[in-house]
Amino acid sequence: MENSQNSLLTLENLDKHFDISGGLLDQLAFEGLRLTRKRTIVRAVNGVSLDILPGETLSVVGESGCGKSTLARTIMGLYAPENGAVYYRGARIDRLTARQMLPFRRKMQMIFQDPYASLNPRKTVKAILREPVRFHNRTLTNGQVLERVEAVMEQVGVDPKWADRHPHEFSGGQRQRISIARALMVDPEFIVADEPVSALDVSIQAQILNLMMQAQAERGLTYLFITHDLSVVQHISTRVAVMYLGHLCEVAPAADLFASPFHPYTQALLSAIPKLGARTSNHVKLKGEVPTPIDLPDGCIFHPRCIYAKAVCRKMVPKFREIEPGRRAACFFAGKVGISWLPAQGGLKNL
């Protein structure tokens, strides 16, 4: 990794697979006349290598089922990866026991998608916010903890006098603020945000995005932002990583990616964003259906849907390689295929 020494978080060849074959009885199947044991493996994340630099917002985008949420949870240690490693400031954290993990828990926090499920409905806001501080700072007095709860509530824009209420008394936007407050309570450096605004209305979405950007500016936070909403990505990201079927397709600085996407999948994705007032339907039409992550296609993972696919794409797996400084993509023809509206390509260059 070119940046490993100064990166905050490094992922190395991360694989996360799920065995969904169920109990022994569910696995048994007849093949011809022979009884065989069949396992069904979902390959959610495959060989993902990535560096996250301090202070940046790295967005991971992709469509549903592409493994972006699994990636987030594997980084947070909620899932144990099958292969590969996760390093936090150079220290390997994916094989730690719960106790060894504790110092890292203070540094890494997470914000969740569903503001209705991510807060324990039986607890008051105060209890929800108090828990992380209490747990990590046992020496603090009740008064100090309460002070901190009130300070953070103030910061995220929830009136501290509502601290004794339960989550169901708040609207979706306010709950998401509380969820952010919980993550901020332990004063982390790094926050994984899993679709934090997808469940919110447009006007509320803007409030939450502003809050997150403001918290980042004030506290020097580093974000890993998981989302499928490309206009949100364009607005908040420093760099963007595009995922498809558990693989990284392309990683690039946000401005470059939106100006000239290299990978055919990124191109298709960007062309499909509904733009305000643009009455066009000249988006890149993908062929076929998204394969399931249970049996991944051979060769390039994207070839069955790619309009530029050649013979080599069916046989060989393209390397995730550097195309330009700071820009990497997994495509044999990265930067050489594209469509006319892409300014950086200088016209249609079909192979």
Partner: protein, 322 residues
């Protein structure tokens, strides 16, 4: 000239244990043949309820308290259940957000299409099957012969929504009401479904009411937009005009809150607060607690939806020259 659909002063109320709630308050709009209208608003604005009220499908404790829905000159709000059933699913079809809610998981796609068809037309199974095949081709489902005999779970999300659209189309309706048809789908699939709906409206001369929270989608598909807030239409007019020169402070706020409206990294302009719940709609203009331009009159008087600027546009706001 008579319109395909004319909604006049529609009021929907819910009778609840602590009193009555007004979910839809004086909604009026018209739709012509082949025209596409976007009903835009945030959750709780009453846009879905409006969709249901058009086909008189408000379930208890809700009821249509007042107003008219004229479809092809026929009053739907006072029609009896039998006559309504002949219109629903035949002349007016609905498409919902979650295709799995609409499709019956234990029946093949073909069976469900044929069932819909035979409920409204006298056909033999064979004829019905022919039409089902044609319709599947129309919504661009590959190998329709094979697909007809498959169950909903064998389709992907995007394909399922195509099936739902096919079922909605199969009776050649004059009007389709699509309630957040692509919200559950990925962007690439959303773009395809929207293309499809647009093409079908053009070729079949269908009217379309697209109910959604996504201004981007609406702006690409529809000719007219009606923006709803707290049960009322606050602004309506041609799509291009509303997107480029929104007049109501709420519409302006909505458009400015979109991440694409600012340079990356800049603070987004936000509408403070949130939409009031139906239980505590403020007096006067329902938007005034969140409005930057409010005056005294906004807190006292409900602004009427009035034609302004030019005949096609209406705004419900006290401020004269937004």
């Amino acid at each position: 000239m008579s319109h395909l659909l004319e909604v006049k002063n529609l009021n929907v109320k819910f009778a609840l244990r602590f009193g009555e709630l007004t979910a839809i308050d004086g909604v009026s709009f018209t739709l012509d043949k082949g025209e596409k209208l976007g009903l835009v608003g945030e959750s709780g604005a009453g846009k879905s309820v409006t969709g249901f009220a058009i086909i008189n499908l408000i379930s208890k404790p809700g009821y249509i308290a007042d107003g008219q829905v004229l479809f092809d000159g026929q009053q739907l709000t006072t029609l009896d259940e039998d006559a309504l059933r002949r219109i629903r699913g035949d002349r007016i079809s609905m498409i919902f957000q979650d295709p799995m809610m609409t499709l019956n998981p234990v029946l093949t796609v073909g069976a469900q299409m044929i069932e819909t068809l035979k409920a409204h037309q006298r056909l033999t199974n064979r004829q019905a099957r022919e039409i089902a095949l044609e319709t599947l081709q129309k919504v661009r489902i590959p190998s329709p012969e094979k697909r007809l005999n498959q169950y909903p779970h064998e389709f992907s999300g995007g394909m399922r929504q195509r099936i739902v659209i096919a079922i909605a189309l199969i009776t050649n309706p004059a009007l389709i009401i699509a309630d957040e048809p692509t919200t559950a789908l990925d962007v690439t699939i959303q773009a395809e479904i929207m293309d499809l709906l647009q093409a079908l409206c053009a070729s079949e001369k269908m009217g379309l009411i697209l109910i959604t929270h996504d201004l981007g989608v609406v702006s690409q598909v529809t000719e007219k937009i009606a923006v709803m807030y707290a049960g009322k239409i606050v602004e309506s007019g041609p799509t291009v005009d509303i997107i480029t020169t929104p007049r109501h402070p709420y519409t302006q706020g909505l458009i400015n809150a979109l991440p694409g409206s600012r340079q990356p990294g800049e603070t987004l302009s936000q509408i403070p607060g949130m939409m009031p719940t139906l239980t505590d709609i403020p007096p006067g203009c329902a938007f005034h607690p969140r409005c930057n331009f409010k005056t005294l009159v906004c807190e006292m008087e409900v602004p009427l939806l009035m034609s302004r600027f030019d005949r096609a546009r209406s705004v419900a706001c006290h401020i004269k020259d937004n």
